[in-house]
Symmetry: C2
Subunit: 208 residues, 2 copies
DNA sequence: TAGATTGTTAATCGATTAACAATC
DNA sequence: TAGATTGTTAATCGATTAACAATC
């Protein structure tokens, strides 16, 4: 796939999609403008128009964007017209929280498997899912084919599990483990470490 | 506080801190170089040196950086020489996961309160914390003073709660709610929405 | 001394913004 | 028609990188 669209632009598309969906569902709004959308998100209207212009012409002079149409286009661009099966690795508190979060379904994802290496957790049911032993990982992925995994395990074992996931063809990993993961080209990784985020913010705070 | 150091630089400091801590604790390493650190993190050595140079001269030509000293300096810069009290809003699965996560303590934070608006959850104990009713928010913050809150509640009520937090003087918010929050200048917000992250990654994936 | 690595400068690269013709 | 807003261009702004003198 030809790709010279900046990563940073791609990263904003889901933000636009989220805001547009909210306008449609919460406020039953039919159209919007780059100005209104930008105001709502703290982003300049010029940037929004520039970002969208990488992919086509979705608006009309004078009236702006039809929300339903733009939502549909963004979903197409982001490959969200299919539902993605997701494997959760780790059945601790966070793994359970992910398995029980009902915000995935309407936005393109379904948690389908949850794994743990603790025999005491294997067999537990959570939101209709049964915790499988991590050693069934390879077999399960081979059988069903999965592209996305979420890592909800300690840093210690995260790189090992990542290597196994990559070996099985996983192409996107969302990691809650507090460390940098090494992956080959072609594998996407997103990091979500609450402490790192908070440490960034404390820079701007004054200790009491 | 004078501040023309780019946000993006501040955002990398906790990443450096995390990697350095790992070198020290996991591998008992005493020194490192910008080259080694960069290799480990997928960041250029020039960028690391440039970033650090905003704050002082921490290395020695020929030998690199003393890890313990650099860790200490980064902690000072990020205001992590004090421990920050954190309020968690929302005692659902995610709120409980946060309350039980043991990765905060060693990195500068302590979850001290957890709130919910569901009477059925108020009074529940989790990891030594008792869930308080959200209506006790103002009183509790007024009494103890808190600067950081984590939002683990649905989008619907997130802006309302944010307004209340800001009113009480909260200066940093880590939000797991899938929406953009409006806050006045001087209040830091970090977003952590797993779906947004995954939607960014699916752009690069090929639907099967 | 020889080798390694810093901190910094200048050049390059990339992203954001202002402005506006086009047009609904 | 008058007003609003797009998509795009060029200018500005900011971040990254390459290179190297300084020096441990």
């Amino acid at each position: 796939m030809t790709d010279d669209i900046p990563h940073i632009v791609i990263g904003r598309l889901p933000i636009y999609l989220r805001a547009l969906t909210r306008m449609a569902e919460e406020y039953d709004q039919k159209t919007t403008s780059s100005h209104e959308l930008g105001e709502q998100l703290g982003i300049s209207s010029a940037q929004i128009r520039k970002d969208l212009s990488h992919f086509g012409e979705f608006g009309k002079q004078g009236t702006g964007y039809h929300i339903g149409y733009l939502i549909d286009q963004l979903q197409q661009i982001l490959n969200l017209h299919v539902e993605w099966d997701v494997a959760v690795i780790g059945a601790g508190h966070l793994g359970h929280a992910l398995a029980n979060y009902n915000g995935f379904g309407h936005r393109g994802f379904r948690i389908r498997w949850i794994f743990d290496n603790d025999p005491a957790k294997v067999g537990q049911k959570t939101n209709g899912l049964v915790v499988q032993h991590i050693d069934e990982l390879e077999e399960t992925i081979k059988e069903h084919g999965a592209a996305i995994a979420i890592l909800a395990i300690p840093a210690k074992s995260a790189q090992d599990v990542t290597d196994r996931l990559v070996k099985m063809g996983i192409k996107a990993i969302l990691s809650y483990a507090p460390l940098h993961l090494s992956v080959p080209d072609g594998v996407e990784v997103s990091y979500s470490d609450p402490v790192t985020e908070m440490q960034r913010m404390t820079y701007y705070l004054t200790p009491k």
